[in-house]
Every structure is written in C-alpha cells, then in structure tokens.
C-alpha cells in the first residue's frame, strides 16, 4: 500500500488544507507505514504543507516567462498588500496564503497568478488588488 502514500497525503491535505500531525498518525496506524517515512515524503514534495493554510491560496508563478515579466516584484507587492512579514506566508486571519510556485504552465499569460483553482493572466498590482476583494 506504500505506493498510495502520496495520494493519501493529497487527500488529507485537500480535506484539511494541510497535512496535520493527526493525519500523519492516522495514515501510519491504518497502513502500517512508519511516521518517519511519511514525514520524509511529506517534506520532500513542495505541494505538502505541515502548517494550517489560509482559506484562499494565492500562487504566484515564478517561471521564466513570469520572471522576465516582473513576477518577483509582483510577489513582493502582494505580500506587502497583505501585510506579511519576511518569513510569513499566511495572514493572521487565515484568509490568504501566498506561495511562489515554479511554473503554472501559462507562460503566454505572464505574469500569471493562481488563486485557488483559477488562473489570472497579465496580473498587475492594481488588478490583483481588485481581485482580492472578491475572496472571503
């Protein structure tokens, strides 16, 4: 059953927004996989989070085309907008989590930002400010 581990972690994460200590324990008990091994897999893949996630996830694409289109500045602006400090990624009210992702595969739309499962194209500081109002 070990080959289902990644899938199990994905399920746990989609249910709770992150992989909790309890989820790791439950998977370990039910499938007989050592906790250390589960932790090893969970920390290897960038998709998995071990801390609670905001209700909305903003993924700022940091692929090549988006980099050339200024996505680093954009990511910093969004973090500033939400009042996030250097090592924070989630707002205190758990409304937003900001992540930088390798590439969303929408290179012609650069800079691209994905909020939850929606991709937004040619994002600017002004346009994202307006979009964020729509999320609760």
């Amino acid at each position: 059953m070990n080959d289902k581990l990644i899938n199990l972690l994905q399920l746990a994460q989609s249910k709770h927004g992150y992989v909790s200590e309890d989820a790791i324990q439950a998977i370990s008990d039910q499938y007989g996989i050592p906790k250390a091994k589960i932790y090893g897999v969970a920390t290897f893949y960038s998709q998995f989070r071990l801390k609670p996630l905001g209700r909305n996830t903003i993924k700022v694409c940091r692929g090549t085309a988006c980099h050339v289109a200024g996505s680093l500045d954009l990511a910093n602006s969004i973090r500033n907008m939400l009042g996030l400090k250097e090592h924070e990624d989630t707002t205190k009210d758990l409304k937003f989590t900001v992540e930088e992702v390798a590439c969303l595969g929408c290179c012609s739309l650069s800079p691209a930002v994905m909020i939850n499962e929606d991709v937004y194209a040619h994002v600017t500081e002004e346009s994202i400010k307006k979009m964020l109002v729509n999320y609760k």
Binding site: N2, D3, K4, L5, I6, N7, L9, Q10, G40, V41, F44, Y45, S46, Q47, F48, R62, G63, T64, A65, C66, H67, V68, A69, D73, N76, S77, N80, V101, A102, C103, L104, G105, C106, C107, S108, L109, S110, A112, E117, D118, V119, Y120, A121, E125
Partner: protein
C-alpha cells in the same frame, strides 16, 4: 437552426483565465445558438478566441470579451451574417475550414496538435470522428513504422522511441509497465498540459499502441498536481475510453506533488512507488528494472500524442525534419514575443524563423537580446546563433538544448546574469540533495552569481564559477545536476560582456540587479504631485520628494507611477 452552424469557444487554461468560460456560458444563454467548447488551440496571446463555423466556412475572432457588446455582435454575425465594422477588426481568419491552418499557423506543421482546438476533449466521439481509435496493425508493422519514422523521445533527451520498446519487448517478466511522463516541470514549457487538456485520447491511443507493440501489461500517467484541469480531463477520458473497450491495457493516473526532479525517470518511478522522488544510479535502466523492479519504459506526453498520427501515416513522418531529428516539435513560445502560445514546427527550421515568422517577432522594447531554450537544463542563445536549425545535435553543440521545448524570448530589459541566477536558484532549490555535487555545487554557484549581481565579485569568483560548473556537470548523479550549469555556461559564453560590466564597472545595463542602480528624483521635472510618496511601501520618499537611499528597497513603484518621467533609474 441547422447543426452545421455553431460557435466554438476554446477553453484551455489560457482561454479560461482570459474569460472564455464566462463567454461560453453567456453564449449558451442566448436563444438559438449552438455552442461547442473545445480546448486550447495554441493562440494563447489572442484569447479568448472564438470560431464561428458555417458548414465548411469558418470565421475566427480574437479577444472576444464576455460581458461586453462583443457577445451580441458575435451572435448577430452567427445568426444573420452581418458583421459590425468595429467588431470586424477582431477577425483573424475568414474562409474555408481546410485553409485555416495555413493562415493561423503559418510555418507550422501540426501533428501532435492536430486535434488541438478542434475536438471537445471530453467527447470521445469527437476524437473518433477525426479518425481516432481506428488504427489496427501487427506488432511487427508498428515497430517498422515507428523505427522508420525516426521518432525520438520528446521529453528532452531524444532517445529513439523504438529502441526503448525493443529493450522492453526483450525482457522476460510477467508484468511490464509503460509510464507517460506528464511531470512538465520546466518553467517555460506547457505543451504537455495543453495536450492532456485538449486531446487526451490521442495520448491514450498512443500509449495503447506502445503497450501493444512492446508488450506492456499496465500503464501509468504521471501528471503534475499543478495542472488540475489536465488531471480532471485525462481521468474522464480514461473512463470514457474504458467503457468503449479502447483500453485493453489498463491506465492509471498518478498525481505528482511538486518536485522538478521527478521528471527524471528513476525519480519518477520512486515517486509513483510512494517514496521521496530521488534518482538512483543507472544501470540497471528502468527498461530492465523499473517500477517495483519490473521492466518499465517512460515516454513523454508529446511522444505518445504523435504516435497515432505516425502509425496511420506510414512513411510520412520521416519526410519531415532534419538530419537525425525527424518530424516535428512543439514549442511553447513565451516572453517578449508577439504571438506567444503553442506552436508545432518541423525540425530544421531556424530559430530566427521560429521567433520572427512563426512567433511574429519581438515585443516589449523590440530589441532581441536572447532566447532561452530548454528551461533550467538549457541555455540562452544570442542573435548570432539564431540561424541554427532546430535540431537535437546542432542545439546541443551551441550549449542549449531542444529539451522539452520551452522557448522564452527576452528583450534588452532582461539581464543575463539575473537569468543565470534565476535558473540556479531554481535548480538549487529543486536539487533532491542526494549527491554532493548537485546539492552543494549548485548552492555555491548561486552564491557566486549573487555576488556578481550585487557588484561584489572579483575575477577570482569567475574562475570559481567556471570550476564549479565543470565539476557539477561532470560529477552529478542525474540529469538535473549534470545540466544545471548550462544556463551559466551559455550566458558566460555568449554574454561575457554583461558579466564583465557587473564585475568591473558595477553596472547592470538592463537595470535589473537592484544593488547596481538607484532611483533618484529629477527635481527639474518633478511637479510634486506626491503620487510616488503614496505608493512607496517603505516610506522612503519624504514630503519634499527626496528618496532616502537607506530605506529604498528598489521596488520600482515610484518609477512606474510617475507620469512625468521624473523618477530616474541609474
């Protein structure tokens, strides 16, 4: 309304983000309008695109905005044939359906993308109507056709496809696996996403052909979790094709979890097995001992998608192409290029033709600086190399690679040192940490590049960078480390003067490396509107409009907001 009159809306990830899904809903709500939705046609820069089909005649529109008068004007044209003069400017094609490729996709040869935009990806009958799932032949015939076609793996390395199959067929085992690699991790490449979203059945049919020829007993499709639409589409396609009995060899989807290194075949296998995706030494090659120790071969999405066409057109694929690179390659054109999107061109076309004829030329400042090919394993080529043909061997010799087919075009607002640093920061983050040269080497290389971009490097650092590049490429375990220095080596080779400027003159000509320039106010031009004061996130601009350099983080907000060009960058 007769069935042969319909409006087609293309719903790829690009189109949806430009508003195509809303547009389709709006059109469906109108009376007497037949709306059909398909997937990405590759014209990402022109989305949302709409095709009005009247029998054999097609009129294509770009940039049709939902919630505007565009919608009614489109419906009016669809029903009555009357075209509003202003709206008519959005027409990108008007004529016979058979000629549309020649106009919209000038210079291209669409094989992998043959169905892109023309089939509803979730409607298996659409695929069947275009000749899908009809191919029948013996194993020997398939081997012959694929061998003669010269098809090489499209994932990057370019290993002859039939050879992998031959090795698999020769293994003795009760179980043999074929894996479709859809872990498209290269920043800058999105053809696998588009094919999985837009024409999933051609991938499934290609996989079945491969399974039959090479004797596999089960298939897996490994898709990145960052592509939710692709995952949903391929899963639905598998269900539909299974019901119809088109998948004698069962297919299972496995979602990746965000690790670039999983594009490497042994790491991908570890990931499917539910382990940390770390590569291992080869041999044994996966074709001998792969998934759960059973013989396994791994091919890319694009390779599988090309197979049904190759098999139904024996003798034709090898006529296209150049030397040992036969057939076509899909490129994802992005960056400062006019017609960004997916294009499929024959091998042998020059890079210049790819960028200027197929891509429509450079936008932004309009001054071409470099093209980055092949992502983090590839390299940056200058104008002097644009007459090279697209060919596995020719590009490899230049230091770049065909790779997965990402092509990011840059104008003179890009700094080559910054680009090298960008890729190294990517590879050092994505290094799985197993071997020392990749783990430590890429980090040390990044340190040096950081120093250069801050204007603190010396000639000695350049020697270190060269030494590290050589060591990392020679001594790393897998392809990730072996190719990680390529972006550095190519920029050092072709853009040496930029490195020199950073080191000797502490200058970044593109104005990207923040430590090497400052923002200042031109007091002659400044009208004291205070727009810059308001946008500054760190309150570095005083009320009398002076920038406190100690506080300034060089975010460039003041530069962007100033309408009087009185913020100077230098």
């Amino acid at each position: 309304m007769s069935q042969d009159k319909k409006i087609i809306v293309t719903l790829g990830t690009c189109g949806i983000s430009a508003g195509a899904a809303k547009l389709a809903e709006e059109l469906k709500s109108k009376n007497n309008v037949t709306v059909k939705t398909t997937s990405c046609i590759g014209l990402c820069a022109l989305e949302p695109t709409v095709f009005v089909e009247h029998g054999s005649k097609i009129t294509a529109f770009s940039d049709v905005r939902p919630g505007t008068k565009d919608v009614d004007l489109l419906v009016q044209f669809h029903k009555t044939g009357t075209l509003d003069a202003e709206f008519g400017k959005k027409v990108i094609y008007d004529g016979d359906r058979t000629k549309i490729n020649e106009v919209l996709f000038k210079g291209q040869k669409r094989i992998v993308l043959r169905n892109a935009g023309w089939v509803d990806p979730l409607n298996i009958d659409d695929y069947i109507a275009r000749g899908g799932y009809s191919f029948k032949a013996t194993k020997e015939q398939i081997f012959d056709v694929v061998k003669n076609s010269g098809l090489r793996g499209r994932g990057g390395a370019g290993f002859p496809t039939y050879k992998k199959w031959e090795i698999l067929a020769a293994q003795r085992s009760d179980e043999k696996y074929i894996v479709c690699n859809g872990d498209e991790g290269d920043p800058g490449a999105f053809m696998d996403r588009a094919v999985l979203e837009g024409d999933p059945h051609s991938v499934l049919e290609g996989m079945q052909i491969a399974c039959f020829a090479a004797g596999a007993t089960k298939c897996f499709i490994y898709v990145r979790a960052e592509y939710p639409l692709a995952v949903r589409t391929i899963k639905q396609a598998i269900k539909d094709a299974t019901v119809r009995g088109f998948l004698p060899v069962p297919v299972e989807v496995r979602e990746g979890a965000g690790a670039f290194v999983c594009g490497e075949e042994t790491a991908l296998i570890a990931s499917i097995e539910g382990r940390r995706g770390m590569p291992r030494m080869r041999p044994p090659y996966p074709a001998e001992s792969g998934l759960w120790g059973k013989p396994t071969i791994i091919n890319n999405v694009e390779t599988f998608a090309a197979l049904p066409w190759i098999c139904t057109h024996p003798g034709e694929y090898e006529k296209i192409g150049y030397k040992n690179s036969k057939g076509t390659k899909v490129f994802a054109l992005a960056g400062k290029v006019k017609k960004g999107g997916l294009v499929e061109v024959p091998f042998g076309l020059t890079l210049r033709d790819l960028i200027y004829n197929v891509g429509g030329g450079v936008i932004g400042s309009g001054v071409f600086r470099a093209v980055q090919l092949g992502g983090p394993s590839g390299g940056c080529l200058p104008d002097s190399k644009l007459d090279l043909p697209i060919d596995y061997e020719a590009l490899k010799e230049s230091g770049a690679i065909v790779g997965s087919g990402g092509a990011v075009i840059m104008d003179d607002t890009s700094c080559m040192v910054d680009i090298a640093r960008f890729f190294l920061s990517f590879t050092s983050k994505e290094s799985c940490g197993k071997c020392t040269f990749c783990r430590v080497g890429t980090t040390r290389m990044l340190d040096v590049l950081d120093k250069i971009s801050k204007g603190k490097a010396t000639q000695k650092d350049m020697e270190t960078l060269n030494e590290l590049s050589e060591a990392v490429s020679k001594l790393s375990l897998c392809g990730l480390g072996q190719t990680a220095p390529n972006p550095v080596l190519t920029t050092l080779k072709y853009f040496a003067e930029e490195y020199k400027e950073h080191i000797e003159h502490k200058k970044c000509r593109a104005g990207i490396c923040a430590a090497l320039f400052v923002y200042e106010i031109d007091e002659q031009k400044c009208v004291k509107c205070k727009a810059c004061v308001k946008v500054c996130p760190v309150e570095a601009i005083s009320k009398d409009i002076k920038i406190d350099q100690a506080k300034c983080i060089k975010c460039g907000q003041c530069f962007k907001v100033c309408k009087f060009s009185s913020v100077l960058k230098g």
